[in-house]
Symmetry: C2
């Protein structure tokens, strides 16, 4: 019996691991940028918006501000990016900004994601263990046909990965000890923190999450319990 | 356009509305009762155990005790019922009591539930808005093949229905105003409270939840937005 046989729940990083946020955000931003004559490549705009993601969560992680859900941070970060491009976002209709912020809930899955998740779901309970908020993960699942059983992660724990509380509270919420939870992610730092909290670790390589010149997370940096090139390969490795 | 067209999420009462708790708990209890020579009909045992459900939640609702999840209350209530039958539960193996308490996570759906939910899921996001805890709802969904998108309800809100907070926090968690959430339940009191918080109301009649002599909830006691004889009839009424 493998040490993986006792897993009851697989928790998934979503942005980058299950869905391709970069192309999806760029697609949603393109008409907005054109309408407001903001002269930037939509993919570059997506990268700039995303670059504020970790710093904005850091303020919550450090205790500098109380927990707020990711849609709130994404919206603040959108305003920051627009300001950097000298856009007076206060003059843009609220509904238009809110709509653009919903880009994070309308992202395409990687080509192997739905097939892999559907196979994994037959053997395990599955759900996001993401920094996304519950409503966003729910809306994204309907858009991308992600067959989650439950949604845990940052909002359930009121803390952002890689803080231990996010993993531990998520495991507790699905009724399992950390050792019976597998973390599935394309990011070595996420898996390192998950392992630090006792979870099993499944690395799915996503070498173009950040575009063709990606420099990070190109390889497994530790001996993760599973290392796979796709979600379907992860399903193979887990006997699904 | 009907006032129901704007619904985005359907929240379900589960025990009694989606699954048949009475026969399932009796089935799980039967070998336990036989093994410990407890002379009671298993269905009657299920009724007695269930009869402590509302009083135990009342202590949380009133503020007499802090919120604890339903598995904790069910376990305490099990010990109470055993004591009433002069069983010294302290002499029964912990694992055996824990296993019996899991009866609430291994209940059969009513014959129309899975077909109805599967149809409703194509048009709406769906999930338990139950007094059950998240892990229990998750395990039950795997046992009974309930195709939830998300799990909200008592544990998310740290309050038990029919307190308004349970409905309001569940709506907030799925990112919708109460008016855009439909409560699906076999219990008039649940729907009355949901309506009081602004939710839409879908009554699914379950006239044998409490057995052949059921006296409560045999009819719709208010003009609920939908009144149906089954989950598939509810799907018909909602155009799914």
């Amino acid at each position: 019996m493998s040490k993986l046989d006792n897993i009851g729940f697989l928790g998934f990083d979503v942005f980058g691991t299950v869905v391709d946020w970069r192309s999806g955000v760029a697609r949603a931003a393109e008409p907005f940028l054109r309408r407001h004559q903001i002269d930037i490549d939509p993919l570059e705009f997506a990268d700039q918006w995303r670059s504020l993601y970790q710093p904005s969560m850091d303020r919550v992680r450090s205790g500098e501000r109380p927990f707020v859900t990711l849609d709130v941070l994404n919206r603040e970060n959108l305003e920051t990016v627009l300001s950097k491009h000298s856009v007076d976002y206060g003059r843009i209709a609220e509904a238009e900004l809110a709509q653009l912020n919903k880009a994070w809930e309308q992202l395409n899955p990687w080509p192997d994601s739905v097939a892999g998740l559907s196979r994994l779901k037959r053997k395990y309970s599955i759900g996001p263990l993401s920094n996304g908020h519950i409503a966003g993960m729910l809306n994204l699942s309907k858009f991308a046909q992600l067959p989650w059983d439950v949604i845990v992660g940052a909002e359930v724990a009121h803390s952002y990965k890689p803080q231990p509380q996010t993993y531990l509270k998520s495991a507790q919420t699905v009724g399992l000890t950390p050792e019976r939870v597998g973390m599935v992610a394309a990011h070595n730092s996420d898996l390192a923190a998950a392992r630090g909290s006792g979870l099993k670790t499944i690395f799915v390589r996503r070498p173009t999450e950040h575009g063709p010149d990606q420099a990070s997370d190109l390889t497994a940096e530790q001996d993760w319990d599973v290392v796979a090139e796709s979600m379907t390969e992860a399903a193979d490795a887990l006997g699904c």
